[in-house]
């Protein structure tokens, strides 16, 4: 190897270390004993033997760790399922049918990406109340799904556009129609698009903070990020950093695993917008 290649790899590895270190440090530190967990992470790993005490103390905040993880999962999975359903239907409709005002409706759905949801949060708060959905996880699912639609509908429309018309025609001759066509013939062909759309919906809903903070007022409904703010602000003036480390780990791990398994689909979703 020429010297500059070696220099390149040394630099690149060093940078990789800097990027991965905070993640590794917090995961390792979360398994320290109560006595260690308030100390600086030097070194980050447990010295006096590993302990799950930080997780046990985290469980003492709010309702229970299981309940809040369940809330987060409900919101993330609900958003994933609803987003996939709605955007597959819409993508198919925009790709394969002609109807009045079609270009206008398509642009309307895409244009919502220009308006950040932060600026419509106040009326959303009142709107959910008038629909009887205030302080419910279902209300959050509906809002998160709406936020995902511009990206998801665009992705699914392109996925359906990429399927040759001949396949549908052949199936139609065999007597396959409408929803059966969509589910059995087109479904498998646009599966990569569905995975991308679902992955983004899950991660965004799992990680969303501001809307959940504003719209959930009942502590038993808190998703993990909202629960963690009360852990972070501490009790009686002192913060249990061990519980913070445990909470960060619980919130991070599903995202990291999903990404590492479905990396290809994630990157494709990102670059779809850049290339178009």
């Amino acid at each position: 190897m020429r010297p500059y290649r070696i220099l390149y790899h040394v630099t690149a590895l060093l940078v990789a270390f800097l990027f991965l270190a905070p993640i590794a440090i917090v995961v390792l530190a979360s398994f320290r004993t109560p006595a260690e967990s308030g100390q600086p992470p030097l070194p980050p790993w447990p010295i006096e033997g590993a302990s799950i005490d930080s997780y046990v103390r985290l469980d003492g905040f709010g309702a229970s760790l299981l309940q809040h993880t369940g809330n987060s999962l409900y919101v993330a999975l609900g958003t994933t399922i609803l987003t996939v359903l709605v955007s597959v239907l819409a993508g198919y409709g925009f790709s394969r049918f002609r109807f009045p005002l079609k270009p206008m409706i398509f642009v309307l759905i895409l244009a919502t990406i220009m308006v950040p949801f932060q600026s419509i949060l106040t009326p959303l708060f009142l709107l959910l109340a008038s629909l009887g959905l205030q302080n419910t996880l279902t209300g959050l699912v509906l809002i998160y799904t709406t936020l995902q639609l511009p990206f998801s509908v665009f992705m699914m429309r392109n996925a359906f556009d990429a399927v040759p018309k001949e396949i549908e025609e052949a199936a139609r001759i065999d007597g396959v129609r409408d929803l059966r066509m969509l589910v059995y013939v087109m479904g498998p062909l646009v599966l990569p698009g569905i995975v991308t759309v679902g992955l983004f919906a899950f991660l965004n809903a799992w990680n969303e903070f501001l809307a959940a903070l504003v719209l959930l007022t009942d502590q038993s409904k808190y998703t993990l990020p909202v629960l963690m703010t009360s852990v972070r602000s501490g009790r009686f003036g002192s913060v249990d950093w061990g519980a913070v480390q445990a909470g960060v780990t619980v919130m991070m791990i599903p995202c990291l695993i999903l990404f590492l398994i479905l990396q290809r689909h994630y990157i494709r979703g990102l670059t779809a917008g850049a290339v178009k």
């Binding site: 690149a12 990789a16 993640i23 600086p40 030097l42 239907l89 198919y92 106040t122 990680n207």
Partner: protein, 285 residues
């Protein structure tokens, strides 16, 4: 017409959870609208009051400062990383994944993690600097405006630079190899090739990255709320944070809506200017 049925659920969601709230924001901004009690039509009084609201303008100018700083960091470093990992290969694939990994963890998780790492007693940064002999005593990063500001900037660059790296990388990869090869044969140096071939050809992904970066940073909230709580001395309150306080802490919903309308207007103008600037240059070349 059957196509309309397929599109209907999406359209209904956008109408109820986007179009109506957007209209309501404007409507509410013309009212004195407390959480409880009577709302009252006040015309443009909320907007007039805004002129004298130094807190909001302070928050807006802080958000602007933060946006400039973090955008330079994200796009500059994003471009360097993109150049580093653009080629195919097993080693570069590993580097790419490593640099990108923080992107997928949420802003709230990353902020909580940073709140701990930058804590003076139990965190990493201050004790580490002291142990290495860089500082005499433990420095409380979050108690000093300058240090706190840079600490949050470093966190956001750590968490988001991979995102911009991938967008810029997709632009770099779409440049035909022959162009760079031809320029090299003609005697252009590495810097010249970057300036006169790479830069003009990645303008479109760069424009996208710039717009996403600026509008995302102008809406910053999680990191300043979770890590700094707006401190020290309320010096790191962003525009969204200020609106959040007005609307959901003081419950002045009408006034909060008026601030939202102004912020939305600023964002749309900023996006339009960036698109215009980057397009004009394209026509000129």
């Amino acid at each position: 017409m059957i196509g309309l049925l397929y599109v209907a659920p999406a359209l209904a969601l956008v109408a109820v959870f986007f179009a109506i709230p957007l209209g309501m924001t404007i409507w509410m901004s013309l009212h004195d609208w407390p959480l409880m009690g009577q709302k009252r039509w006040v015309g443009f009084a909320n907007y007039e009051r805004m002129w004298g609201d130094s807190g909001f303008w302070g928050a807006l100018s802080f958000t602007g400062t933060y946006t400039v700083a973090v955008t330079i960091g994200l796009l500059g470093l994003g471009m360097i990383l993109a150049l580093m990992v653009e080629r195919p290969g097993r080693a570069t694939a590993f580097y790419r994944t490593a640099y990108f990994l923080p992107v997928v963890i949420g802003f709230a998780s990353a902020s909580l993690l940073w709140a701990w790492l930058s804590n003076v007693d139990s965190g990493l940064f201050s004790p580490l600097m002291q142990n290495l002999g860089l500082t005499e005593r433990r420095v409380n990063i979050n108690a000093d405006y300058g240090l706190a500001f840079w600490s949050v900037n470093v966190m956001v660059v750590w968490k988001m630079v991979g995102f911009f790296m991938v967008i810029l990388m997709s632009g770099l990869q779409s440049i035909p190899r022959d162009y760079l090869e031809a320029a090299r044969i003609d005697g252009a140096g590495a810097l010249q090739r970057f300036r006169f071939i790479t830069m003009p050809l990645v303008r479109r992904p760069f424009a996208l990255a710039l717009i996403l970066c600026v509008s995302g940073s102008m809406l910053a909230f999680d990191q300043f709320y979770i890590i700094l709580n707006g401190g020290p001395q309320n010096s790191t309150i962003t525009a969204v944070y200020w609106i959040f306080n007005e609307s959901f802490v003081s419950f002045r919903l009408g006034y909060g809506a008026a601030l939202s309308v102004v912020l939305l207007g600023i964002l749309l103008v900023l996006s339009a200017i960036q698109l215009r600037l980057l397009r004009d240059r394209e026509d000129g070349s």
